[in-house]
Symmetry: C2
Subunit: 156 residues, 2 copies
DNA sequence: GAAAAGTATTTCAAGATTGAAGCTTCAGGC
DNA sequence: GCCTGAAGCTTCAATCTTGAAATACTTTTC
């Protein structure tokens, strides 16, 4: 444990940079595989899926601003994605009583059905793509990721 | 080890899905922070930085196709990014003797200087953002990420 | 050597993404 | 009531991203 007994080949900062590059490598591969399957097999995209997933957790609907915060993307971006989902009959906007500025985005029954079918497949794809890690390894990694994320939130 | 002795609270597939969501959460936060700093403090973007980093490792230049494979982005995408770097005087294209189809993208001295300055800052930002993990934790995670990535490459 | 097949790059249309600017509406102070 | 500031959303220009089609060149085949 004493650093003098185990001289460092690299600084902590270099190790963290290496960690960052590995994180990018894995998430990039998983994401591009997911994108490809969504597009080729289901004619949709990852951002659309993300929006639908958020709406799916709130059957009563989510304000555009809540959607934007929850997904951590800009408000203008949400407008466009919901526009396209609406054009395809998967989502709709409903007014908020008492606040004529706001809109709730909500899944249509068609949107809900489409999402639920895709979500089941999605879970299977992730299971396959991350299949190199067993449940214990996954739990270890989740714990480390939470430590990492907590640190960022603390300094936000 | 026998599942009957340690009943699972959730399936391996749910655990992996949870892992995936945590991975997205951490990398998303780090990325958006990096993007913001690149834009606000240095008037550039992450994709430009990535291209410059690849070119920086190959002072003699990289073919557009090599750049595309190395960064795992489409060829059309690389064209646009190199176009913009070139317009800013940070990169240039040189012909490949013996193959008039191909082009080498290469950093200009100005581009190299800009990249090196930014790379040093980048390492510091990563060190700060991932500071919630110490060197041992980072190494543990790197090992797990490599297992995960190796599994995907095996099935590619 | 001419035709065919393959390779390197660019162009294009569509979508995703951002931040800034603009519009409408709401909430408080007066 | 009216003004001011804030909030919610959309619009806009710029960049990033993809895959498909177009273009130009090279290599292989016969």
């Amino acid at each position: 444990m004493n650093p003098e007994l185990r001289p460092r080949a690299e600084s902590a900062s270099k190790t963290r940079l290496r960690l960052w590059l590995r994180l990018l490598k894995l998430t990039g591969r998983v994401e591009s595989d997911l994108r490809r399957r969504m597009r080729d097999e289901h004619d949709t995209t990852l951002p659309r899926f993300d929006v639908m997933a958020a709406l799916s957790r709130h059957p009563e609907g989510l304000k555009m601003s809540e959607l934007s915060q929850s997904l951590r993307v800009s408000a203008g971006n949400v407008t466009g994605i919901v526009d396209r989902l609406t054009a395809d009959g998967l989502a709709l906007r409903v007014g908020v009583p008492g606040d004529r500025r706001a809109q709730l985005a909500r899944l249509t029954p068609k949107g809900r059905a489409a999402f639920e079918a895709l979500a089941a497949l999605h879970e299977g794809w992730i299971d396959e793509l991350l299949g190199g890690l067993d449940a214990d390894e996954a739990e270890t990694m989740i714990a480390l990721l939470e430590r990492g994320t907590a640190h960022m939130e603390g300094s936000e």
